[in-house]
């Protein structure tokens, strides 16, 4: 689809600041190199997951990034990162876009640009199946309970804000959340919908606790380095396009994520 920026959008780079014009070269860069560099978190089940058995990447954003690359007539180059390093990596332009269901938070939005959201999820908790201490969502925020979050995820600030009685523990290493809960050092870990799918599909010791009420619906979007309005616009166009033509719904369905597709 040929690029036809409207008059208002053409003004946007100017509005975003002085440096914007100088960096509005992402599309040219891609065209020149024939490569689309995409940041992913290879532990993100259902989104961008490197299968420990085959080593192959799979997930909603793997499929969608390939779609995007095809539209841009480029090949994809994946840059592995995690939510702790993501913002730095984007700013350092290690990748041109982060396609890894990045939760839209104010702190992140201050450093990177977000596309329109394509997923929307509340948070979920994972406890052990035999846990006698935590049976429902409301058992979580109680004295003596220990709640784990992955460092860098948007659950970290969210939990810091919401927990009143339970202790919050932030872990960093892969699988550490699961180990903490399974060993009984913590009672639950907080995650989002895609990761909770993984737990239910791949383990049998875990129990999913859905919130008894909406805690905080978080938008998931693609993040791009700040300052290149035409590139952001191109990404937004892509998001609008896959929503419109059903590719998003189809792909999400294939990865069990249809319930959290953002329809607007």
């Amino acid at each position: 689809m040929p690029l036809r920026p409207g008059p208002l959008l053409l003004l946007l780079p100017l509005a975003l600041g002085l440096g914007a014009g100088a960096r509005a070269q992402t599309l040219d860069e891609i065209r020149r190199s024939g490569t689309l560099k995409v940041c992913i978190w290879p532990d993100y089940f259902g989104i961008s997951y490197r299968s420990p058995r085959t080593g192959a990447l799979q997930g909603l954003d793997i499929d969608l990034s390939r779609e995007l690359a095809r539209e841009l007539s480029a090949r994809v180059e994946y840059v592995e990162t995690d939510f702790t390093r993501l913002l730095d990596d984007l700013q350092a332009r290690k990748c041109q876009v982060a396609m890894m269901a990045v939760g839209v938070t104010a702190a992140r939005a201050a450093r990177v640009d977000f596309s329109t959201p394509y997923l929307r999820s509340d948070i979920y908790a994972i406890a052990t199946r035999s846990s006698r201490a935590v049976q429902t969502w409301d058992d979580i925020d109680q004295p003596g309970r220990i709640v784990v979050v992955q460092k860098g995820t948007y659950m970290e600030p969210l939990m810091q804000k919401t927990l009143r009685h339970a202790a919050l523990r932030t872990v960093e290493r892969p699988q550490e959340r699961e180990h903490e809960v399974e060993s009984g050092r913590a009672d639950v870990f907080i995650t989002d919908y895609p990761y909770s799918r993984r737990m239910l599909m791949n383990t049998d010791w875990a129990r999913l606790l859905a919130p008894s009420r909406i805690i905080q619906l978080t938008d998931y979007a693609y993040a791009v380095p700040r300052g290149d309005a035409s590139w952001l616009q191109r990404i937004n166009e892509f998001v609008a396009q896959i929503k419109r033509d059903g590719r998003l719904a189809q792909t999400a369905d294939r990865h069990g994520l249809l319930p959290i597709v953002a329809r607007d």
Binding site: R132, A133, V134, I146, E176, E182, S183, R185, W205
Partner: protein, 638 residues
């Protein structure tokens, strides 16, 4: 073809017994199947249970032992690397310890305690600095050799921190294992906090329905931790398990009331623990979810058999009664009337004995024929066909017929021809009933004859009687009539002690009248005088002409004086009567007189009629002699 349905064989005793026996057999069958299946399923389930708990005990003990192996191996590893340098340096850094246990969900923390029980190094930073009371430590009070791992108690805490603060963590428990390392004779301990929830989680995944109670026990049989909080017979269980474990490392036994519980155990060959699975036999029934259904089915079948058989038995009793009644009716009809059964086309299928007796035919001579055979040409040719047409339209035909026996003798029957239908209302048979009315018709004819004869005879008698007792000229009784009447009258009077009188009358000079005027005038005189006197007499009196010009009057219930008066009246009437004899060719005026003799039984009761008449005759004679035209009566004797 069917025999005539005139004898119904019923065997009520046999059938009633059958009707009682069949439901009993059905019930026996239902309940044997039910109880048999209960027994079989129960047996099967118990067998399955025994196999399952033993198999599960094997597997889970192996799993538990391996989990504990991982604890023991880490304890031994850190102990082995805890040389004096390490101990003096305050153990290992938390991060290192944490890395050591991170991927092992059995372990919650690994800590080093100094001889005073203070935590000097731990994978959990929060544990460092807390001091544990000596009595919670594994192998407390026991003499330890280095690197021997001992297991302690299960306590309701998450880790050493809350254990030291004695703050229970609800829903959590830990199990301590430790090994001692000595540094210059001072005992340091490596303490592992074992995550008991790891076992519980695994067990709950292994037995999601929690049919059985899986637990870990020490070698004395004391419970460390189990899925169920406590067993109702925990003491007995501990005692028996302890005994068993002293004897054998693996096995199973029943315990509790009615051997309710089955316990299968396996002692670990390496660690001082045993895994035991307690199964509740009472739950076998609950696991067998179809049990209620089977019972319900059996009860329903029982109900069905009982109601159906009751219904059937009642129906049979009704049937029995109706069949007996039918047999009676059939016998009654068969005895009373002739009966023949034909198919709808009129061909005879069966006849009864009465018909054979009457007609003289043999049964096989009639079967297959039509009833026209019996008509013998006495009816129009299509007569029976018409009857059949009537009957085939569903109506009953009734009427009189004349039939003929084999020998050709005719007989009359009153016939009723009835269409018999099956349960669907289709005509299947035509039944003809004949009652023989030949005798009745003969008797009626005989009676009519007799009646006619009697009438004729009575008429004849009447005529004969009148002619014999009556005088044809005057219409009065003649002597014979008089005598038969008088005899009776006299008899009746004497019976009632009443007098009877008689008057003897004789017309004076009647011979001269005959001679002078002719017999016709004489007859006229006689007729007229009879008429005149008859009018003067009571109806009970009897006037008779005894012969010639001699008359007699019998006066029943009349005394002599009255009789004399009657006589005088009659004499006077005669004298006063002037006869017109012109019709007889005589004179226009003719006078006659009469002489009358009176007699009475008044003073002579028991007088016979001849005697009475004789007396009257003598008095008459006296009257004639006295000059005629007078009444003479005998003088009464005083």
């Amino acid at each position: 073809m069917d025999a005539p349905r005139l004898d119904f064989k019923l065997e009520p005793r046999k059938f009633r017994r059958l009707f009682r026996l069949l439901p009993a057999l059905a019930l026996l069958l239902i309940w044997s199947v039910y109880l048999g299946s209960e027994y079989f399923i129960r047996h099967h389930l118990e067998q399955g249970l025994e196999q399952r708990v033993q198999r599960d005990a094997l597997l889970l003990e192996d799993h538990g032992s391996r989990a504990l192996d991982s604890v023991v191996s880490r304890l031994k590893a850190v102990a082995a690397f805890s040389g004096p340098t390490v101990l003096r340096a305050g153990g290992l850094p938390s991060e290192t310890l944490r890395d050591l246990i991170l991927d092992n969900p059995v372990l919650r923390s690994l800590s080093l305690l100094d001889p005073q029980g203070r935590v000097i190094a731990s994978s959990e930073a929060a544990n460092i600095g807390v001091r544990l009371p000596a009595n919670v430590l594994p192998g407390f009070g026991r003499r330890h050799t280095d690197r021997e791992v001992s297991f302690g108690r299960v306590l309701p805490h998450r880790d050493l921190g809350d254990l030291a603060r004695e703050e229970p963590a609800p829903g959590l428990s830990l199990w301590l294992a430790s090994t001692t390392v000595s540094e210059a004779g001072r005992p340091f301990r490596w303490v592992a906090v074992i995550n008991t929830d790891y076992f519980l989680n695994f067990w709950s995944r292994y037995d999601p329905q929690q049919h059985d109670d899986i637990g870990l026990y020490d070698y004395e049989g004391r419970l460390l931790f189990a899925q169920a909080p406590s067993h109702p017979q925990a003491d007995m269980l501990a005692r028996l398990l302890g005994q068993q474990l002293r004897a054998r490392d693996l096995g199973w036994f029943d315990f509790g009331p009615h051997q309710r519980w089955l316990l299968a155990y396996r002692g670990s060959a390496i660690h001082p623990v045993a895994l035991a699975i307690v199964a509740d036999r009472d739950q076998l029934g609950q696991q067998d979810s179809d049990r209620t259904k089977r019972l319900l089915l059996a009860l329903l079948s029982t109900l069905l058999v009982l109601t159906r058989s009751t219904w059937l038995y009642r129906w049979y009793l009704r049937y029995e009664t109706s069949v007996a009644e039918l047999a009676n009716q059939a016998r009654a009809i068969g005895a009373h009337v002739m009966a023949a059964e034909s198919d709808p086309d009129g061909r005879i299928q069966a006849v009864n004995q009465a018909l054979l007796d009457k007609t003289g035919y043999q049964e096989d001579e009639l079967i297959g024929q039509t009833l026209d055979l019996l008509a013998g040409g006495l009816q129009p040719p299509d007569f029976h066909a018409q009857i059949r047409a009537t009957v085939r339209s569903g109506q009953i035909w009734k009427g009189l017929l004349q039939n003929q026996g084999k020998a050709g003798e005719p007989f009359w029957v009153n016939a009723t021809v009835v269409p018999f239908t099956d349960a669907w209302g289709r005509i299947t048979r035509i039944v003809s009933l004949y009652s023989d009315i030949s005798d009745a018709i003969g008797l009626a004819e005989q009676l009519a004859d007799e009646r006619r004869l009697r009438t004729e005879l009575a008429h004849l008698n009447e005529t004969l009687t009148t002619h014999a007792n009556t005088d044809p000229l005057t219409g009065l009784y003649n002597r014979r009539g008089f005598e038969s009447f008088a005899q009776q009258a006299l008899l009746a009077s004497s019976h009632y002690a009443r007098p009877t009188s008689a008057l003897m009358l004789d017309l004076d000079h009647f011979k001269q009248v005959n001679d002078h005027h002719g017999h016709a005038v004489g007859d006229l005189v006689l007729r007229e005088m009879a008429r005149c006197w008859s009018s003067q007499l009571r109806s009970s009196d009897l006037l008779a002409r005894l012969g010639g010009e001699e008359f007699c009057v019998l006066l029943p219930n009349t005394g002599l004086n009255d009789a004399r008066e009657v006589a005088e009246k009659l004499r006077a009437a005669c004298q006063d009567t002037a006869l017109d004899a012109r019709a007889a060719g005589g004179p226009g005026r003719l006078e006659v007189t009469v002489s009358i003799g009176v007699a009475s039984s008044e003073r002579a009761p028991g007088l016979s009629l001849p005697q009475l008449l004789n007396q009257a005759d003598r008095a008459l004679y006296d009257a004639k002699r006295g000059g005629r035209n007078r009444v003479v009566s005998p003088v009464l004797q005083p």
